[in-house]
């Protein structure tokens, strides 16, 4: 099933961040967003996830716009943003389990996620003892711990060492081989094959007044 957006414009903090943006992701596809800081990559990802509303435009799956049934849309996606959604007083296992179970993850999946992100041995460690890179890996473990066709990733490799970046690359490839799709905002080359590029600069609104042509 295709995930796409048509003619999206987004106003944040009384500023037009981008306008007239179109995108589409097919099963097995990956969309890579690039652009400077403040170009609206995160805004676009949040609009795609349904956390923010596009000011104008439509975001949809082949079977209907996401606004028709937000819960169904949420069931189809994993969103890994800048914030890690982890509690310092909960253990690695407990932190992961909460989000995995919420999305219908099973014990085997959770165990597999722990293994794939090289968090084995840390299960009982409280979150407050994790390093930035380990916290990032714990966030990414959510991708494996329960299934969803669409991954929305905001700078997924931040704070990761080279080995972990390779692991993430492998995860994404595996996900795409299984028919999954990914939207990734990144400023570093991830080395993914066969991606669609989307440069936010092409949709920058510039200095236009959002009240343009009104009075």
């Amino acid at each position: 099933m295709k995930f796409f957006g048509e003619n999206i414009s987004c106003v944040r903090g009384e500023r037009l961040v981008f306008r007239g943006l179109n995108f589409a992701v097919e099963p097995g596809g990956a969309l890579v967003l690039t652009g400077n800081n403040g170009s609206g990559k995160t805004s676009l990802l949040r609009v795609m996830a349904g956390l923010n509303r596009a000011t104008v435009g439509k975001i949809a799956w082949s079977d209907g716009p996401i606004s028709d049934d937000p819960e169904k849309h949420h069931g189809r996606l994993h969103f890994i943003g800048h914030l890690d959604a982890q509690k310092p007083v909960l253990s690695v296992g407990e932190n992961l389990e909460m989000w995995a179970r919420l999305h219908g993850g099973t014990d085997e999946k959770i165990a597999m996620a722990i293994k794939k992100l090289k968090l084995d041995g840390f299960e009982d460690l409280p979150g407050r003892y994790l390093s930035a890179g380990q916290r990032r890996r714990l966030s990414l473990a959510r991708l494996v711990a329960s299934e969803a066709p669409l991954w929305i990733l905001d700078e997924p490799t931040i704070a990761l060492d080279e080995g972990s970046v390779a692991a993430v690359r492998a995860l994404i490839s595996e996900h795409r081989d299984a028919g999954g799709m990914a939207v990734i905002a990144t400023n570093v080359e991830l080395g993914l094959s066969d991606t669609t590029k989307l440069d936010m600069r092409d949709y920058a609104a510039g200095q236009d007044d959002i009240w343009e042509g009104v009075s």
């Binding site: 500023r15 200095q207 009075s215």
Partner: protein, 244 residues
């Protein structure tokens, strides 16, 4: 592109047409009302001349509730249909409503001194108006509590709706609480025995206040829209400079 949702130009034209139709009648009605209230109505046999405070107090109390209701309705419109003008209207109405509420409390207190011999009595009506005043203050405080003005207006809009559901509950609770703790021995303001010569100024003042409110509302909406537009333009300019 906001044009699709709200058209400030059209609003400005509408406001310019309507303003004189609100402002002049408001002024005339209030002056006429004050004339009858102060010089051409009888003093009350119990309350004496102090009864004249009622001609400001009672319309203010009506306005306090009326403006809150208007505000909550336009908040609902803003939330449901995402119409920015509705949020601007609510934002413009809130301080006006708060001022009417304050005037109602002040005049109530001034009236209470000669009649009850004290500045404040926990009278059911005054107490519910006091709580309403705090609902207004909460709305205003919430609206200004965020760095992102859009966030503030939407939060405050939800609060106004929650408040609207609560206003009658609070009012009847307070009335019940009042009868429980204070057997009705005090003179009720604007009690049932209103002489017909008192009705005319009361009526003039009530209509005058409503038109005065509409005048202020339109003026404030215009000002708020200009401020918003100026902010948007300077933001766009700043981002443009940064991008260069």
């Amino acid at each position: 592109m906001i044009q699709k949702y709200a058209n400030p130009a059209r609003f400005n034209r509408l406001a310019a047409t309507l303003l004189p139709w609100f402002a002049w009648p408001a002024a005339i009605l209030i002056f006429a009302g004050l004339y009858f209230a102060l010089f051409n109505s009888p003093p009350d046999y119990q309350q004496g001349e102090s009864v004249r405070i009622m001609y400001v107090h009672v319309p203010s109390a009506w306005m306090a509730l009326f403006v809150y209701t208007c505000m909550a309705i336009s908040c609902a419109v803003g939330l449901i249909w995402k119409h920015p003008l509705a949020h601007i209207a609510a934002q413009a109405a809130a301080p006006i409503g708060a001022c009417f509420t304050f005037v109602c409390l002040m005049t109530g207190s001034l009236w209470g001194k000669p009649i009850w011999g004290t500045w404040w009595v926990w009278d059911a009506r005054l107490t519910s108006v006091l709580i309403l005043f705090f609902l207004y203050l909460g709305f205003l405080a919430l609206q200004n509590a965020f760095d992102d003005p859009a966030r503030g207006e939407r939060s405050a809009a939800i609060l106004a709706l929650v408040g609207l559901i609560n206003v009658p509950i609070i009012h009847y609770s307070v009335v019940w609480w009042n009868t429980l703790h204070q057997p009705a021995s005090v003179i009720k303001m604007a009690g049932p025995a209103i002489h017909s010569s008192m009705l005319l100024p009361l009526f003039l003042m009530a209509i005058g206040f409503k038109l005065y409110f509409l005048t202020l509302l339109l003026l404030r909406m215009k000002a708020l829209m200009m401020a918003r537009r100026a902010r948007g333009m300077s933001m766009a300019q700043l981002h443009h400079q940064a991008a260069e």
